[in-house]
């Protein structure tokens, strides 16, 4: 199921980067698209703003078939303080823009992508394609919450994949 998580993340990061190439973050001297998986980053006390943060929460494995069906819940959190040049008065518009980007990226066809194995990948080395696909449902957007000047929202997506023989 790790391969399904990796595949879904790279698919979503790629689609979001195409929709808004200017949504980037600087991480240890390198500019990257502002989509990240919390569990893969160094623990920090601060929350990255204007970025999509993925967390893998629920997990269910249905082993009735030869290829067990794995159902995972991906929680996508994003927050903004607005832009300082506008005194933060545009924070609602910026949150709405992130809502639209995420909804468009996940609604784009196809709703499926070939599962990839990134264990052997590296700089300049492509991942290996596997025999099954990763697919997902429409996202469910939670209520926007306000903490001080910060607006944030969490969307959840159900991600499905078949567990292949020998796959961890």
């Amino acid at each position: 199921m790790q391969n399904a998580k990796d595949t879904f993340y790279t698919m979503l990061q790629g689609r979001l980067a195409i929709l808004n190439p200017s949504r980037t973050r600087v991480l240890r001297g390198v500019v990257r698209p502002a989509t990240l998986v919390d569990e893969n980053e160094l623990p920090t006390a601060w929350i990255p703003l204007d970025a999509f943060r993925l967390q893998w929460t629920r997990l269910q494995v249905t082993s009735a078939s030869p290829l067990p069906l794995v159902e995972m819940e991906c929680s996508i959190q994003y927050a903004t303080d607005g832009s300082s040049g506008n005194g933060g008065m545009d924070r609602g518009r910026l949150l709405a823009a992130m809502d639209a980007e995420l909804a468009t990226a996940l609604a784009a066809e196809p709703h499926t992508v070939a599962k990839m194995n990134y264990a052997t990948a590296g700089a300049g080395v492509a991942p290996t394609a596997m025999g099954t696909n990763v697919f997902w449902a429409d996202p469910v957007f939670g209520a926007a919450s306000t903490v001080g000047e910060r607006m944030e929202r969490t969307a959840t997506v159900q991600v499905f994949a078949n567990q292949e023989a020998g796959e961890l």
Partner: protein
């Protein structure tokens, strides 16, 4: 640079040494690798570099540890040392150095940096104050 600000920095160094003057290590990750997706997937991890910070003095900032919350520490760091690191490693500023750092290694224990502030005299920092959080495993 004012003579008074230099004197304040030297006085702070003397006081920090008098209070124990410990040496700790600032653990900083190496630069990220461009176009390497494995770092973003948790497969490859960055190399870490330990930079010595001395003299420093620290104390427990959260006296009563509440259940499930780790202890917090307050560390005073010599501005002279920090300025030396910022200059030699070509960081833009001390705040960038502390923001890039993963934590502070104190006697084999890695403490996470929660915040970094500075005290100034005539526009020049004479001491840096770090708020550090102990690992959650050491919570009550």
């Amino acid at each position: 640079m004012s003579d008074l600000s230099v004197a304040a920095a030297r006085t702070a160094d003397v006081l920090l040494r008098a209070l124990g003057g410990r040496t700790v290590m600032l653990r900083t990750p190496a630069s990220a690798v461009p176009a390497d997706v494995t770092e973003q997937l948790g497969i490859a991890t960055p190399l870490f570099q330990d930079l010595p910070l001395a003299p420093v003095a620290y104390r427990k900032a959260r006296a009563t540890v509440t259940e499930g919350k780790a202890a917090k520490w307050e560390m005073l760091v010599s501005a002279t040392t920090v300025e030396g690191l910022v200059g030699s490693l070509a960081y833009a500023s001390a705040s960038v150095l502390f923001a890039a750092a993963y934590g502070v290694l104190c006697g084999g224990e890695l403490l996470e940096i929660v915040s970094a502030t500075q005290e100034q005299v005539f526009g020049r920092p004479y001491v840096y104050r770090l708020i550090l959080r102990a690992p959650l495993a050491q919570g009550v």
